[in-house]
Point group: C3
Chain length 147, copies 3
Amino acid sequence: MPHLVILYTGNLDAVTDMAALCRSLADTMLAVRDEADKPVFPPGGIRVLAYPAAHSAVADGGAAGLAAGQGGDYGFVYLNLRMARGRSAAVHADTGRRLEATAKAHFAPLLARQPVGVTLQIDEGPEVFDAKNSSLHPLFTAPPRSG
Amino acid sequence: MPHLVILYTGNLDAVTDMAALCRSLADTMLAVRDEADKPVFPPGGIRVLAYPAAHSAVADGGAAGLAAGQGGDYGFVYLNLRMARGRSAAVHADTGRRLEATAKAHFAPLLARQPVGVTLQIDEGPEVFDAKNSSLHPLFTAPPRSG
Amino acid sequence: MPHLVILYTGNLDAVTDMAALCRSLADTMLAVRDEADKPVFPPGGIRVLAYPAAHSAVADGGAAGLAAGQGGDYGFVYLNLRMARGRSAAVHADTGRRLEATAKAHFAPLLARQPVGVTLQIDEGPEVFDAKNSSLHPLFTAPPRSG
């Protein structure tokens, strides 16, 4: 943990760079620090995965957008961060605001151009079982220095 | 919110129209009204996203279906609606029954033809942070009338 | 229920057989038994769905792996089992350990070869509405014997 999963309407791949957004969001997560100025997320646990839907339906399907002269090609992006339990409300809020700022900066031109909804939510994982196997984490653990 | 995410075995794209199902489910959500006869879901927040799995395994892999003369090509569809907290149990039940009726009508021929499982569940979002940016919502907000 | 959803970085499809993993995990679920030696999961409700991400970002993007001579092509796999409420903590733990063993056996060569993270979590479904329509379940229900 944490992971951020992005579910979105497939039409957006043609108009915005989702791979770049994934990287920006991962970088944002790398930079979040808690009240004690320690990183909130271990680098080796950060991952952002984005999924364009194969099929989708949004709102009224386009009628209102067409009537308003904004086109009927609606888009939708849902960003969901699942993080481990036990962080403070302040950390949740700070993490959320930072991720939202990154998403907002990324999508601002698109939001201005066509009808698009962008929702970001953070959940605390409610898991009843948790197991990790990783050859990634050790890369970010400082080895003891010799000498 | 709300959003409805459909996860399903990829073999079903060849035998049913998932895009049509997305539209039917969105229309169903548009029509749900609460105890005060107000729409439960804001039109600009309704989206249905469907994802065929790239890889999957269902039940015993086909043996029982073949033995029963129904073929071993099992299918599975999972429909999950995540809606905002705070709605009544009656609204949850009514929303669920309506969505189930739509899904049932869509899948009835398929259910009769091959072994398929269709599960619909509604969750109330447990989010600890929530942020929305939308150029979709304003399309459905009545502007103040001039004059 | 239950269902197991696998979200992973798309680069892994070239280096591991995700379809085989789906089958192994479904077989593992078929074999789990509770304190009374009854199957925990009904065969007709078992499904595993795997989704490679179209876009992703992991950790620092590769720098630490390259610096360590392990390559910068990180991978990530998230396995999430959602099961019905009401099972004992012992069943959760046993189910988790068995699924983890299957995943570990599958990914051991990969974990040794490149930086990869594998996380498995089990959630109890928090649904407020649940409906099932299935022509799969009846295949696994013993019919009454005639004579």
